[in-house]
C-alpha cells in the first residue's frame, strides 16, 4: 500500500473554518445534529462516515449550497450566513466531477477566471500552469468528454484550484476510480495539498483512504461527530465501540473493571488482568462489566522457544488466512468462545501455523482500549 507518513508534518493550528452547533433538517429528517468543529489553515481534513451520515450535507453547508436551521459557519472569522456559494473562498470538486461537457479542457479549467481582471495571456498561462500541476500538460485543447475518469478528476481539481481558494472541498473524489488509480491519486492529492498549502476537506466513506491522507479525521454517524482526531489517535484510541468498529479491525473481549489504589484494573476474559491508563478509557467509566478492544497487530503469536516479553495467554488456532506478506490467525483463547483475530507479518524461514495448533500469545496492557 502506498503510505506517506503524515506524522512528521508541522501541525497547523489556526482555525480557518469554525462550525458552531450546526443543525439541519430535510423535512422531518435531522441530517445534521449540532455539529461543532474547527478546521485549521493548511490542514488535510477528512469527514469519514458510513453512507447517509451527513458528510456531503456538511460539505455543502460549508460550500454554501445548503442553508442551515441553526448554528453558524465562520470562514476566516467571518460569518458565512449571508454569503452565497459564488462569493465564498471555497471551491468544490464534485463527486461526479461536473466537467462542462460542451467546453474544452482548457475552457473548463479557466472557467473561474472569466470575471478576473487578468489579461488573456495571463489567463492562458494560469490555465497551462494549473494543467501542469495536475499532470495534464498539453491536454488543453481536448474535448472534455473525451477524457478518462482519472483525467476528468484532474480537470476538476485544476478547475477548482485555479481560483486559489482558501478551502478546497472534495466529495468522494476517488470513489469512481479503480483501486490502482485510487491509490495513485491519493498520493498525488497529498502532494498537491502540500504544494499549494490550501486547506483540503475530503469526504470519504473509506477509512483506509482517510487514514492515509488526512492530518485529522472527523468520524460522523447519523449527523453527529463521534470523534475528531489525528489518524494515529483515531486508530489507537477510538472513543467508542462504534468508531473502533468502523476504523480497521478491532477485537472485543468482555471484561470486568475494578479500581485498586487509584488505578483501574481490567480483568479481561481469556487474557487476564491489566492496568488501564487514563487515556485508554473514557473518563468516569463505572466499575463492573465493560468491553475491551485491541487491534489484530497488537498481539503476537509466540513460536516454540520464544518467551513473552509482555504478558502471555494460551489459545488454539481456529482459522488461518494467508495474504502473502501477512497472515491472519483466528485464535480461540482459553475460556472465550469467540475467536480473536491476530495479524502476523510473514518472515522468511518461519512456517505459517495450521488450524488446530495450540499456541501462546503475547500481549501488552497498553494496547487495550476500554469501552463501557
Amino acid at each position: 500500500m502506498t503510505q506517506i507518513s503524515t506524522a512528521n508534518r508541522v501541525k497547523p493550528t489556526k482555525p480557518l473554518i469554525e462550525m458552531r452547533d450546526i443543525s439541519k433538517h430535510y423535512g422531518d429528517y435531522h441530517a445534521l445534529c449540532g455539529i461543532t468543529l474547527d478546521i485549521h489553515e493548511g490542514e488535510f481534513f477528512s469527514l469519514l462516515g458510513p453512507s447517509g451520515c451527513g458528510k456531503t450535507t456538511l460539505l455543502r453547508v460549508i460550500a454554501g449550497f445548503e442553508g442551515i436551521d441553526s448554528g453558524a459557519v465562520l470562514i476566516s472569522h467571518q460569518d458565512m450566513a449571508r454569503v452565497p456559494a459564488n462569493k465564498r473562498p471555497t471551491n468544490m470538486v464534485f463527486q461526479s466531477y461536473a466537467i462542462f461537457p460542451h467546453l474544452s479542457v482548457a475552457q473548463n479549467v479557466g472557467f473561474g477566471l472569466r470575471k478576473s481582471t487578468m489579461s488573456k495571456a495571463q489567463k492562458e498561462a494560469a490555465v497551462a500552469e494549473a494543467l501542469e500541476m495536475v499532470g495534464l500538460k498539453g491536454y488543453g485543447a481536448r474535448a472534455a468528454h473525451a477524457l478518462s475518469g482519472g483525467q476528468r478528476q484532474r480537470v476538476a481539481l485544476a478547475r477548482a484550484l485555479i481560483l486559489k481558494p482558501k478551502v478546497l472541498l472534495l466529495d468522494e473524489p476517488l470513489s469512481a476510480l479503480d483501486r490502482k488509480m485510487r491509490e495513485q491519486m491519493q498520493v498525488e492529492l497529498i502532494r498537491l495539498q502540500r504544494q499549494v498549502g490550501i486547506t483540503f476537506i475530503l469526504v470519504t466513506h473509506d477509512q483506509e483512504e482517510a487514514l492515509v491522507m488526512s492530518d485529522r479525521i472527523a468520524v460522523m454517524f447519523e449527523g453527529e461527530i463521534a470523534q475528531c482526531d489525528d489518524p494515529e489517535i483515531l486508530y489507537r484510541r477510538p472513543k467508542s465501540k462504534r468508531v473502533a468498529d468502523f476504523i480497521g479491525v478491532m477485537n472485543f473481549l468482555p471484561a470486568t473493571l475494578h479500581s485498586h489504589a487509584g488505578t483501574i484494573i481490567a480483568d479481561v476474559a481469556g487474557l487476564g488482568e491489566a492496568e488501564i491508563a487514563a487515556d485508554q478509557c473514557p473518563a468516569g467509566i463505572p466499575e463492573g462489566d465493560a468491553l475491551v478492544g485491541f487491534r489484530p497487530e497488537t498481539l503476537t503469536l509466540l513460536y516454540d522457544g520464544q518467551t513473552a516479553t509482555q504478558r502471555e495467554a494460551a489459545g488454539v488456532i481456529s482459522e488461518v488466512v494467508y495474504y502473502g506478506d501477512m497472515t491472519y490467525y483466528d485464535v480461540t483463547l482459553v475460556g472465550v468462545s469467540k475467536p480473536v483475530r491476530i495479524s502476523m507479518r510473514n518472515v522468511f524461514g518461519r512456517d505459517v501455523l495450521a488450524v488446530g495448533d495450540a499456541t501462546r500469545v503475547s500481549w501488552s496492557a497498553g494496547a487495550l482500549v476500554v469501552f463501557p
Binding site: 449550497f65 456559494a85 471555497t90 471551491n91 468544490m92 461536473a98 462542462f100 461537457p101 473561474g112 481560483l163
Partner: protein
Amino acid sequence: MKGLKLYAILYLIFLYAPIFLLPLFAFNSSTIIAFPLQSFTTQWFSALADIPEMHKAVLNSLRIAATSAVLATSFGIFAAMASTRYRFPAQKGLMGFIMLPLVLPEIIVAVSLLVVIVNAGFSTGAWSVIAGHTLICTPFAIAILQSAFASLDPALEEAAFDLGETPASTFRLVTLPLVMPGIISALLISFTISMDEFIIAFFLTGADPTLPVYLFSMLRFPKLLPAVMALGTLLVLASVVLLTIAEYFRRRGIKRAGAKDTGGFL
C-alpha cells in the same frame, strides 16, 4: 414471419400513401384529382404565385406559428426548470394542471376562448390564435424540456455557481447551451403544431385566415385543387427539411455532450 412482413408493408403504405399521392397529382396536368395520370406539368406550382390570398395566409400562419413557438417554448423553459430544479408545495398537482391542455379537446379550448374574448369586448385576430396555439403548444414544450432539464446534472450548475458565476450567468453559460437541443426540439414541435392547427384557428382567426383555414375554404373550388396539391407538396418538403435540421442539431448536441445516442426522429 411472412405475415409480419406483409403487415409492415401494409402499415407503411397506409402511413405514406397520402403523402406520395400529393406530388403525384401536383405534377399531373389534369384538373381532376383522379387516375389515370395525364402528362407531367409544373403549371400548378407557377399558379401558386398568382394567388395573393394564399400568400397572405401562408405569411399569417408563419407569423402565428413562430410567435406561438417562441412563447410556448419560453413558458416551457420556466415550467420545466420549476419542476426539475425546485421543490415547492403542491408541485405535482400544479404540473399536472399545466399539462391539462394536452388532453383537452381543442374544440372546447376554441369555443371557450371565443366566448371569453367576445364577452370581454375584444375582437378576434392573429393575437387570439397565438393565445390559443400557445396554450396547446406549451404542454408539448414542457414535456420535451422537462426531459432535457432532468438529464442535466445539477452539479454542473452548482459547479459554475461555485466558480463565481451568478445564477443568471450560470444559466447563460452552462444550462442554456446544454439544454439547447431540447429548446430547438420544443420550438420546432410547437411551430409544426401551430402551422397544422385548424379548429382553434377556424374559430379565432377573424378576418385573416391561417393557411389551414384558407385551404379548407378553397375546397369549394375544384379548379384550385391541383394548386392545393402543389402547396401540400411544398409543405411536405419543408417539413422534411425542418425535421432534418432538428435532427442534425439534436445529434450534434448529443455528440458534443459525449452522451450515447438514444431515440431521435430519423
